[in-house]
């Protein structure tokens, strides 16, 4: 199988280049991550992040034949040759397929992704009905891989001001939590022309999310809450 992989080693390369690789032995069921690990045995200077190999740690997000995804969940059998592998778009490249995620995490921290409760805590758990808890499904599963935010044109244009789909999904995860008591504060934090309202419902985020989550729906729900809060 043939691969074209984005290479950039700042100590050696003046500019990025695409390098061709060939992998002879392809076993059935092999994922892209398995292939990259095999290629690394040929060439240990080829660098990418990875860890759990089953789509829960969120390390190996990359751009695969033009679409963002996790290497460990991408079967080789679905890929057209040569498989073109690039780093996530729209954020700085550190080396090869490794990107600098600081901007992404800055926005994550900025939505204050933690439960805020003002009332005294009970000596046991807060009660939450299964229906209330169900509202968190599709939100709490985010693995912070960055596929969505780096696929978002609005983020490419305003990476410093637009929170991006991943952070906005997190914002809604806490707004949707029946235990959280900071709704107004959270909504106020998202006002203004950029932080959330740069979303133009292009829905790239939904198409690429490896966990099948829907940040666009979360953003719409935040807008609804804003209207409700105004009334």
């Amino acid at each position: 199988m043939r691969f074209r992989i984005y290479r950039y080693q700042p100590e050696v390369d003046n500019k990025p280049r695409m390098q061709e690789y060939v992998l002879e032995e392809i076993q059935p069921g092999m994922m892209l991550r398995d292939a990259l690990l095999k290629l690394r045995e040929q060439d240990e200077t080829l660098v990418f992040r990875h860890s759990c190999g089953e789509g829960v740690c969120g390390s190996d997000a990359m751009n695969i034949n033009g679409q963002n995804g996790l290497a460990c969940l991408t079967p080789l059998s679905n890929l057209k040759e040569p498989v073109e592998v690039r780093p996530l778009p729209g954020i700085p490249v550190v080396r090869d397929l490794v990107v600098d995620m600081s901007q992404f995490f800055y926005h994550y921290r900025a939505v204050k992704p933690y439960l805020k409760v003002h009332d005294p805590e009970p000596e046991v758990e807060f009660l939450q009905s299964p229906q209330q808890r169900e509202k968190l499904d599709g939100l709490y599963e985010c693995i912070l891989c960055g596929c969505c935010t780096t696929a978002c044109p609005s983020f490419w244009w305003n990476p410093d001001k637009f929170r991006g789909p991943a952070a906005l999904l997190q914002a809604y995860r806490f707004l949707a939590d029946s235990r959280d008591q900071a709704t107004t504060e959270r909504l106020e934090d998202l006002e203004g022309p950029y932080r959330m309202f740069r979303c133009h419902t292009i829905m790239n985020c939904v198409n690429v999310c490896p966990k099948g989550l829907n940040p666009t729906a979360a953003i719409n729900n935040i807008k609804k809450l804003m209207v409700k809060d105004m009334i």
């Binding site: 080693q9 700042p10 100590e11 050696v12 069921g29 690394r40 045995e41 060439d43 240990e44 200077t45 660098v47 992040r49 990875h50 860890s51 759990c52 190999g53 089953e54 789509g55 829960v56 740690c57 969120g58 390390s59 969940l73 550190v94 080396r95 090869d96 490794v98 995620m101 995490f105 921290r109 204050k112 992704p113 933690y114 439960l115 409760v117 805590e121 000596e123 046991v124 758990e125 807060f126 009660l127 939450q128 009905s129 299964p130 209330q132 808890r133 968190l136 709490y140 599963e141 693995i143 912070l144 806490f174 939590d177 235990r179």
Partner: protein, 598 residues
């Protein structure tokens, strides 16, 4: 060693240094829980992690966390304590186990208050499911003690703990690799030399206390449920600092890894009503554990599966696995309670668990052994007739051995272990800091030694490759130190592992760049794995009995007369020492060893 060392600019004079009250190495659940305790107590804390915190392996824990909340069935912490001691095959220390089980409810409520999205019961309380080895009333009916967020409990906990640390403004060093501990002549641990992966620059972090929370070493074995990062770095560092590792012969094989691949399928699958069948469609666990059946302890179920396959009752064309039947649970339960493993099964096996049974086989999962600590998280080593504390050094979680898991850990007790002892260590560190207000003088010789260790990887030339040796090590461990063991096979295993380790001297990296050089990191991870592999086979070879996960065909019985004791392995001369099991709990009566049946 031959070859030339190039200048990598790590001369001690130019070595960057930072000072903190407290250093935490590892950002899984244990490290983050401790850091939270420290940050909220206004200690100046640095968390060093070789991956971004939410990539730590706690994220992969599925089934849940044990606490006797009694939300579903009657329960209390004392029953949980009994089950844990029995599960440990009586090798667990009963004071630590009492402490853990007593604290469990409080810690789970605390996690819930912090935001963990636990699944819920109709009355709004935390959902609890049955798990292996759980009973009511000291060995009676099945209990339901495992608090769950669907089958993504580790993910839910790790993200919440990270979020709380963001709130507490903990200082994170993301993607820094810890190389070695810094220790002075008097035995005080003073911090660690770490490497910033992005720049390739070493950094000396001086700290009054250092907590090792680096997780387990599942990468010892070829087929494992563990992430690639689980290379036991903290255990390796401890060994090199002269600290022994305890009970390393006890390595847990999880009964239900995806056959041939290793991905974890939670015990919660059986807790929700799934069960195992052999090629005859027989529910074979009824033969091995008539009472608990599929919810017997993990060691029991793993041995049963291995036995079925060895005796020719395995499934598939080569009879290499058994089947986990889930289809009778229905799509709704699978979607609501087991969505994560349903995805994994679809993605990696291309089958629908609601339609077909799933091929599974025991898979390397959890390191019961580790750095010896007491229940305050302090690292302790034997001296004369007792024990002494290594001043300034702590360990918590899978890298530590308190020991609450003894010879076999119960499912749902590892997420509990990390928060209970992460917090306990945090509390003890706060006390230590109030009695030790100033940084001690740094031991430069110790710093030089750590720098030399790093520089070794700048040797150039042709040589062995890390990937090759790692593959050989994993195969060797699987073959010579697996579920069933014998004297002859283990002796051969020691020889093979030592031979492989010697070849480490001939390894040369091809990548000598500084920026995000993962080859260098993998080389140092492999060094750690080798030290731990030797500790594991040597300890396993010495223990002439079968207890918990350590199954000796040549010594099939547990031998409390000679072996009711913890092993301690020292790197120097590969020496073994032993210490007694603490059979005396803190406040209740001891549970004396008795026959263990499920």
């Amino acid at each position: 060693m031959d070859g030339t060392v190039t200048d990598v600019g790590v001369q001690p004079v130019t070595l960057a240094r930072r000072q903190f009250d407290s250093l935490v190495i590892g950002a899984g659940g244990g490290g983050l829980r401790a850091a939270l305790q420290l940050a909220t107590a206004d200690a100046n804390v640095a968390v060093v992690s070789k991956v971004f915190p939410t990539r730590s392996h706690t994220v992969a824990a599925q089934g849940g966390i044990n606490a006797a909340l009694a939300n579903v069935l009657p329960d209390n912490w004392h029953w949980h304590m009994y089950d844990t001691i029995k599960g440990s095959d009586y090798l667990g220390d009963q004071d630590a186990i009492e402490y853990m089980c007593r604290s469990a409810s409080h810690l789970v409520y605390e996690l819930e208050h912090a935001g963990v999205p636990f699944s819920r019961l109709d009355d709004g309380k935390i959902y609890q499911r049955p798990f292996g080895g759980q009973s009511q009333n000291f060995g009676g009916e099945q209990a339901a003690r495992t608090c769950a967020a669907a089958d993504r409990t580790g993910h839910a906990m790790l993200h919440t703990l990270y979020q709380q640390n963001i709130h507490a403004k903990t200082h994170f060093f993301d993607e820094y690799f810890a190389i070695d501990l810094i220790k002075d002549d008097e035995g005080f641990v003073l911090g660690a030399l770490v490497l910033e992966i992005e720049t390739g620059k070493p950094l000396l972090i001086e700290a009054k206390t250092t907590l090792i929370a680096t997780g387990g070493a599942g990468q010892l074995f070829r087929t494992n449920t563990n992430a690639r990062i689980n290379t036991g770095d903290g255990m390796g560092m401890a060994l090199r600092a002269g600290i022994p590792l305890q009970d390393m012969e006890f390595f847990q094989f999880h009964p239900t890894g995806v056959a041939g691949r290793g991905m974890l399928l939670t015990e919660g699958a059986r807790g929700e009503g799934g069960y195992l069948i052999n090629k005859d469609g027989e529910r074979f666990m009824e033969r091995y554990a008539p009472h608990a059946k599929d919810l017997a302890s993990r060691d029991v179920v793993s041995r049963a599966i291995s036995t079925e396959v060895r005796e020719g009752r395995g499934c598939g064309p080569d009879g290499e696995y058994v089947l986990l039947k889930l289809d009778h649970l229905g799509r709704d339960v699978l979607q609501k309670r087991l969505p994560g493993i349903s995805d994994t099964i679809r993605t990696f096996l291309h089958i629908d668990p609601a339609e077909e049974p799933v091929p599974v086989f025991p898979t390397a999962h959890y390191t019961m052994g580790g750095i010896p600590t007491n229940r305050h998280g302090q690292v302790v080593v034997p001296i004369d007739q007792g024990e002494e504390v290594i001043p300034g050094l702590y360990a918590a979680g899978e890298c530590a051995c308190v020991s609450v898991h003894g010879a076999n850990r119960l499912g749902g007790n590892s997420l509990l272990d990390i928060v209970v002892f992460g917090r306990a260590a945090g509390n003890d560190i706060i006390e230590y800091l109030s009695n030790n207000r100033y940084h001690r003088r740094l031991d430069e010789a110790s710093v030089d030694k750590a720098v030399d260790h790093l520089q070794r990887w700048d040797l150039q030339g042709e040589g062995e490759s890390v990937a090759n040796l790692r593959n050989e090590l994993q195969l060797t461990m699987e073959k010579y130190c697996g579920v069933f063991r014998t004297e002859v096979v283990l002796a051969e295993g020691i020889e093979k592992v030592l031979e492989l380790q010697q070849r480490m001297a001939d390894v040369r990296l091809q990548d000598h760049s500084r920026i995000f050089n993962t080859a260098r990191i993998e080389a140092m991870e492999l060094e750690n794995l080798f030290d731990i592999a030797v500790a594991t086979v040597v300890s396993a070879h010495a223990r002439q009995e079968s207890r918990g996960a350590h199954s000796r065909i040549d010594y099939p019985e547990r031998d409390d007369v000679h072996w009711l004791k913890h092993s301690l392995y020292y790197k120097r001369d590969r020496r073994l020492d032993y210490k007694p099991v603490t059979l005396k709990p803190i406040s209740v009566e001891s549970f004396p060893p008795k026959e263990r049946v499920y």
